[in-house]
């Protein structure tokens, strides 16, 4: 499995290196989401200050920064959990001052959470099936009877979910209540639930936190495969710099709620502000 991981990662990053990061060369026309001058505060605490950046179609966009830099807050702004006091969010060409979670979900934004937020009492299968909620709309009376159109719909979506289960190689835990799964697998199920939404934009909040090397390699492979096979745009927060540099097309760096650098992994790595933010600097 390791060997396969390595090669698929190489294959994925090779052309990018050759072109000097393929996705970064895409024009502004391909921007899927952009945030402009977004500020968010909780009382007197300023979590995000005047941040602007964009996410282009089909790229893997990393958001990094030290703890408390406002990375998760940024994701929460994008999918509508937080409403920024200032700034605009433009998604698929539509400009708005805030997102609402339901709108975000129905317009193709899916996410995972930093501290796994699965439905603990439910099986892997049921958890991933909830990701199909918006794709299923047969009326409640058919559902109560569990018959007719509702049954057809259930079977059709179940088939889709089985594909995801195959893709993520979690066939064996299909029926297991997720509360009983080890952490690494829970993260995978959570990814599965997000994928079940057939998202255009996938937000991953520390998808590899707390994982061992092997689990990280598996997760990296899934992220690359999702990006390449389905063309899904991915924005991810991650602390493992090796992973970030390997996976992402472009990196945005936040520190104390401010955007301090934005560019290709190579550019960001050399940026003095970034180095200072991570290593600390004598004042």
């Amino acid at each position: 499995m390791n060997a396969k991981t390595k090669t698929s990662k190489k294959a994925a990053s090779a052309p990018k290196d050759a072109n000097g990061s393929g996705a970064a060369q895409k024009t502004a026309r391909d921007v899927l989401l952009s945030v402009e001058h977004v500020s968010l505060s909780f009382g007197g605490v300023k979590a995000i200050r005047d941040v602007s950046f964009d996410i282009r179609k089909s790229e893997i966009r990393a958001i990094i920064g030290p703890n408390g830099a406002g990375k998760t807050s940024m994701l929460n702004v994008i999918n509508g959990f937080y409403h920024p006091q200032e700034g605009t969010i433009t998604y698929k060409g539509e400009k708005r001052s805030q997102m609402r979670p339901h709108d975000a979900a129905s317009h193709g934004i899916a996410r995972t959470f930093q501290n796994v937020a699965l439905f603990r009492g439910m099986s892997t299968l049921d958890n991933i099936m909830t990701g199909r909620s918006l794709k299923m709309g047969k009326p409640i009376w058919w559902q109560v009877l569990h018959y007719g159109p509702a049954r057809q719909e259930e079977l059709k979506n179940r088939e889709f979910v089985e594909h995801i289960i195959d893709f993520l190689e979690i066939e064996a835990i299909r029926r297991t209540p997720v509360g009983r799964l080890p952490y690494g697998l829970q993260k995978r199920v959570e990814l599965g639930r997000a994928l079940a939404m057939e998202p255009e934009l996938l937000l991953l909040d520390e998808p590899m936190a707390g994982m061992n090397l092997e689990e990280k390699e598996d997760m990296s492979r899934f992220i690359i495969d999702v990006n390449e096979q389905f063309g899904t745009t991915i924005a991810l927060i991650e602390h493992d710099m090796g992973v970030v540099m390997d996976l992402s097309d472009r990196v945005a760096v936040l520190d104390y709620g401010q955007l301090i650098a934005d560019g290709t992994p190579a550019q960001v790595q050399k940026n003095q502000d970034v180095i200072d933010a991570y290593l600390g600097v004598a004042h």
Binding site: H102, A117, S133
Partner: protein
């Protein structure tokens, strides 16, 4: 034989408790709200049903036979009214209390209980009402003749109804999209929102279903002993049922109801003469207390394990 009769009568009383407890569990599962108003909802549903069937004009309490609805139509109308009520509760109360402490939500249902009780009084009057849906009354002759058992027909109907209700709810919860969404909301609000589940819709559905369950409970209790305001007090008996069964378990509500029903009948019949009777009134609470000491999560509740 007498023992068997006591057990059966206890089981059937337990079904009644279980019906009320079921309404509690549904709402608690989906929103973490302990709905103190569940008993009053049963009362309100019963009052409305009787009012519609007898053609009572709200507020004036005068009856007009021309307005009287047949039983089936009155039931459908009452279900519709309970759904409107669910919608109003979401719109006027829950929506404004999102992300508040559980105790605050609980207090709001306490208020709701009083409002509903008052509304029931104003609309339909406070006298004891006879509910005649044509459900069979009296003892079951067949059981009496063949087995020598005295069992009320209405209680058998209640048991059957509860069984069907639970089966339908179980399928609904386990196998359907909305059922999954209900369980998802119960587990994690934010995650549910992130997959596009609407909390508001789910809450309206849950309270509607709880309203329908309340109607069934109201009809069963009402057919047995008339629709009266003491009906809202059976909510208190549902509390020990929930402690026994676990607040989040539908099977728990049923089994808990049965245990309490049988337990208090047996205690009354066999323990009563020894310590002077009236055990039926407090037995359930003592049993609940014992459970709280030794198994606080209830028989079917999820054991709370915290990783430290």
């Amino acid at each position: 034989m007498f023992f068997l009769e006591t057990v059966i009568s206890g089981l059937l009383a337990g079904v009644m408790y279980a019906l009320v407890a079921l309404g509690f569990v549904l709402i608690f599962k989906a929103s973490g709200v302990f709905n103190f108003a569940q008993g009053v909802m049963a009362l309100f549903a019963g009052l409305t049903l009787v009012g519609l069937m007898t053609g009572t004009i709200p507020i004036t309490h005068l009856t007009n036979d021309a307005l009287a609805m047949p039983g089936w139509l009155a039931i459908i109308a009452t279900i519709a009214i309970m759904m409107v009520l669910a919608f109003a509760i979401e719109r006027l109360i829950l929506r404004h209390l999102v992300n508040q402490e559980h105790i605050i939500l609980f207090m709001s249902t306490l208020g709701l209980a009083y409002v509903l009780e008052g509304a029931g009084d104003i609309l339909w009057g406070s006298d004891v009402k006879v509910l005649d849906l044509g459900l069979p009354q009296g003892a079951s002759d067949w059981l009496l003749d063949n087995w020598g058992l005295y069992v009320e027909k209405i209680e058998l109907v209640a048991a059957l109804t509860a069984g069907i209700l639970v089966a339908v709810l179980a399928v609904f919860f386990q196998k359907t999209r909305i059922g999954r969404a209900l369980r998802a909301v119960a587990d994690d609000h934010q995650a549910a929102l992130s997959v596009g589940i609407s909390l508001r819709t789910i809450w309206v559905i849950v309270w509607s279903v709880a309203g329908v369950v309340a109607l069934v409970a109201g009809v069963m209790w009402g057919s047995k002993s008339g629709i009266q305001f003491s009906l809202s007090l059976i909510a208190l008996k549902a509390l020990p049922v929930l402690i026994l069964g676990g607040f989040e378990s539908i099977p728990g509500a049923i089994v808990g109801g049965l245990i309490i029903g049988v337990g208090e009948k047996l205690a009354e019949v066999y323990g009563g003469p020894i310590i002077g009777g009236a055990i039926e009134n407090w037995f359930a609470y003592m049993l609940a207390l014992a459970f709280l000491l030794f198994r606080p999560q209830g028989l079917f509740g999820e054991k709370i394990i915290e990783r430290v």
